[in-house]
C-alpha cells in the first residue's frame, strides 16, 4: 500500500522519542517475561535450581583449586631448607656454623635446632611420646633451618642449596618445597579438567534452558500464531523468549553465587581449625569481582544462546493455518 508519509514529514524529527519508546518497549517485554516466569514459580524454580547447581559445581571446584594454589604459594615463597648436620658435629660447632651462614647476604635467617630440641618437638607433635623414651640414644642430628632472602631467584636458590650441601659439616640438605612444584603441576591438570567439565555442564545448561523455552513456546502456540497472523516478525515473537532465557540465566547465576558463598561460610570454621593446626595465617579466597562477573555473564550468555536456539528452531514450525 502506498505509504502516506506527509504527516510525518511535516513533524520535526524526534530522535529521543524513538529511542525512549524503543527502550520502554524492551523494558516492558523484559518485565512481562519476568512476570511470566514468576507466574509459574514451581517450574521456574526447578529450571533456575538446575542452572544454579550446575554452575555451582565448576565454580566450587575452581575455588578449591584457587585456594589450594594460594595456600601452597605462601609456602612456596618461604622456600625454607632443612640442613641436617653430620652426627660428628657438636652443638657448639653447629651454632657457630649457623652464625656464619646467617651473615650471608642471600640468607634471611638461620635457626639452629639442636638434636635435643628436635627430639622434644618431635615427641610433642608426633604423638609417639612414650615410645621414644625407649630409644637408647637420640637418633636425630642437629638441624639448621635456613630461610633464603626473598631476593633469591629459583636458580640462585638452587646454587645456594648446592653450596651449603658441599660444606664439610653438612650431611644432607632437604629443599622442603620440591613437592609444592609437583602439587602445582597437579593443580594445573585439574584446572584443565575442570575447564573441560565446565564445557559439558554449559552444554547441559543450554539443553535445559532450550527445553524450558520450547515448552513455553508450545504453551503459547496459539498466541504466537495469532501475532504472526497480525504481522509480527520472527524477531518480535522471539524477543520475549530471549528475555525469559536472560532471566533464567541471571537467576541461575545469582543462585550459583549464593550457593558458593553459603558453601564458603559453612566451611569457614573447619578451615580456621585446620589452618590453626598449621599455625598458618591462611585466609580463604572468596570470589573476586571479576569471577562474579564471569559467573553471571556465563549464566546470562547460556540463557540467551539456549533460548535463541530454541526459539529460532521452534518458532519456524509455527505458521498460521
Amino acid at each position: 500500500m502506498a505509504r502516506v508519509k506527509s504527516n510525518e514529514a511535516l513533524r520535526p524529527p524526534r530522535k529521543t522519542g524513538v529511542i525512549t519508546s524503543w527502550l520502554l518497549r524492551h523494558l516492558k517485554t523484559s518485565a512481562t517475561a519476568l512476570g511470566r516466569i514468576c507466574s509459574h514459580p514451581f517450574g521456574s524454580l526447578m529450571t533456575v535450581l538446575v542452572i544454579g547447581v550446575t554452575l555451582a559445581l565448576p565454580t566450587s571446584m575452581h575455588l578449591i583449586i584457587k585456594n589450594a594454589r594460594s595456600a601452597s604459594t605462601s609456602w612456596d615463597s618461604a622456600l625454607d631448607f632443612s640442613v641436617y648436620l653430620k652426627a660428628s658435629v657438636t652443638e657448639a660447632e653447629g651454632r657457630r656454623l649457623a652464625a656464619i651462614i646467617g651473615k650471608r647476604a642471600d640468607i634471611e635467617s638461620v635457626i639452629f635446632l639442636s638434636a635435643d630440641e628436635a627430639l622434644l618437638e618431635f615427641r610433642d607433635k608426633s604423638g609417639f611420646g612414650p615410645s621414644l623414651d625407649s630409644l637408647p640414644t637420640n637418633p636425630l642430628p642437629h638441624t639448621l633451618i635456613i630461610r633464603p632472602a626473598p631476593t633469591n631467584t629459583e636458580v640462585s636458590i638452587g646454587l645456594l642449596n648446592e653450596e651449603i650441601g658441599n660444606l664439610p659439616e653438612i650431611d644432607f640438605v632437604q629443599l622442603d618445597t620440591e613437592w609444592v612444584r609437583r602439587f602445582h603441576a597437579i593443580l594445573s591438570i585439574l584446572e584443565q579438567a575442570i575447564f573441560l567439565g565446565t564445557l559439558f555442564l554449559g552444554a547441559t545448561i543450554l539443553v535445559i534452558i532450550g527445553n524450558t523455552i520450547r515448552l513455553d513456546i508450545q504453551n503459547r502456540h496459539e498466541e504466537i500464531e495469532v501475532t504472526k497472523l497480525i504481522g509480527a516478525s520472527n524477531a518480535f515473537i522471539r524477543r520475549p523468549f530471549l528475555y525469559s532465557g536472560f532471566w533464567y540465566g541471571l537467576m541461575g547465576g545469582l543462585l550459583t553465587l549464593n550457593l558458593v558463598w553459603y558453601g564458603l561460610y559453612a566451611l569457614e570454621a573447619p578451615i580456621a581449625t585446620l589452618t590453626g593446626l598449621y599455625q598458618s595465617n591462611f585466609v580463604t579466597d572468596a570470589l573476586d569481582f571479576r569471577e562474579i562477573l564471569v559467573i553471571i555473564g556465563t549464566g546470562v550468555g547460556l540463557g540467551l544462546i539456549g533460548s535463541w536456539t530454541a526459539a529460532t528452531r521452534h518458532l519456524r514450525q509455527i505458521e498460521p493455518r
Partner: protein, 242 residues
C-alpha cells in the same frame, strides 16, 4: 486494489481448492465472496494474506505482486492488511485494550499514540467502555467487534474477513455488517467471505460466487448470454435458406 489472475491452488494429494480464478476488486469497493463451504473462499483469502502461496497464477494487492514478497517481508506486508476471522482469534490472557493495541505494538508505535488509536478503534465498534475487560467476559458479538477493532486500528486500506458473522445471530450479524459498511464509506476496501446470502442482499453489495474452486458466473448473466447466443445461431440458421 486486488487483482487475482488465473490463480490455481493445489493442495498436496491433488485436491484443487482453486482452479484458474481471475477476479478484480476495485479500490473502495465492498465485495462479498460467497459459496458453499469448500468452494475456495477461505483459500482465496489465505492466498491474499500470504498465509499460503498460489500454485499457479498471480495475486497483486495494491500494486504489490505477492509473488515477489519474500518470506522475510511477509510480516510487513500483513501489517498493511486488516484481517477479521470467524473465531475472532483474540488473545484471552489480556484485556480488550491490549488485544486491539497488538498490531500497533508490533509496528512499534509509541504508547501515547497507540492509546489514542486504540480508543478511536474501540469507539468505532462501540466498545469504548469495555477496554479493561477480558475477552472471555464479552459476548460472541462483542468479541467479534474487538477482532474488528484490532483489524482496523492501524487504518489499513484493505480489510479481509473470513466468515466474520459465522458464529453470530442475524441481529448481531447485521450490526457487524453495518460496521463494515461504515469503514467502506470512509474508503476502506473490503473483501468478505460469507455464505449468508440474505444478509448480503440486504446490503446490496457485489457478490463474487465461487463453486468448486471456480468463479461462478452470475446466473442472470448466464441467461442473457445464452439468449444472445441462441439468437445468433437462429440468425445464422435463418440465412441458410436464402
Amino acid at each position: 486494489m486486488i487483482r487475482i489472475e488465473e490463480v490455481t491452488k493445489r493442495y498436496p494429494g491433488g485436491h484443487d481448492a482453486l482452479k484458474g480464478v481471475t477476479l478484480y476488486v476495485e479500490k473502495g469497493e465492498m465485495a462479498f465472496l460467497t459459496g458453499h463451504s469448500g468452494a475456495g473462499k477461505s483459500t482465496l483469502l489465505r492466498l491474499i494474506a500470504l498465509i499460503e502461496r498460489p500454485t499457479k497464477g498471480q495475486i497483486i494487492v495494491d500494486e504489490q505482486n505477492t509473488k515477489r514478497i519474500t518470506n522475510r517481508r511477509i510480516p510487513a506486508y500483513r501489517r498493511q492488511i486488516g484481517m477479521v476471522f470467524q473465531d475472532h482469534k483474540l488473545l484471552y490472557d489480556r484485556p480488550v485494550f491490549d488485544n486491539v493495541a497488538l498490531p500497533l505494538v508490533i509496528a512499534g508505535i509509541g504508547h501515547r499514540e497507540a492509546s489514542r488509536k486504540v480508543r478511536a478503534a474501540l469507539d468505532q465498534v462501540s466498545l469504548l467502555n469495555r477496554e479493561k475487560q477480558f475477552p472471555a467476559t464479552l459476548s460472541s458479538g462483542e468479541q467479534q467487534r474487538v477482532g474488528i477493532a484490532r483489524a482496523i486500528v492501524s487504518r489499513p486500506k484493505l480489510l479481509i474477513a473470513d466468515e466474520p458473522t459465522g458464529n453470530l445471530d442475524p441481529d448481531l450479524s447485521l450490526e457487524v455488517m453495518r460496521i463494515f459498511r461504515r469503514f467502506n464509506e470512509v474508503g476502506v476496501t473490503l473483501l468478505i467471505a460469507s455464505h449468508d446470502i440474505s444478509l448480503i442482499d440486504q446490503l446490496g453489495c457485489r457478490r463474487i460466487a465461487l463453486e468448486n474452486g471456480k468463479l461462478q458466473t452470475d446466473e442472470e448473466e448466464d441467461v442473457v448470454a445464452e439468449y444472445v447466443e441462441r439468437l445468433e445461431v437462429e440468425r445464422e440458421n435463418s440465412r441458410w435458406p436464402e
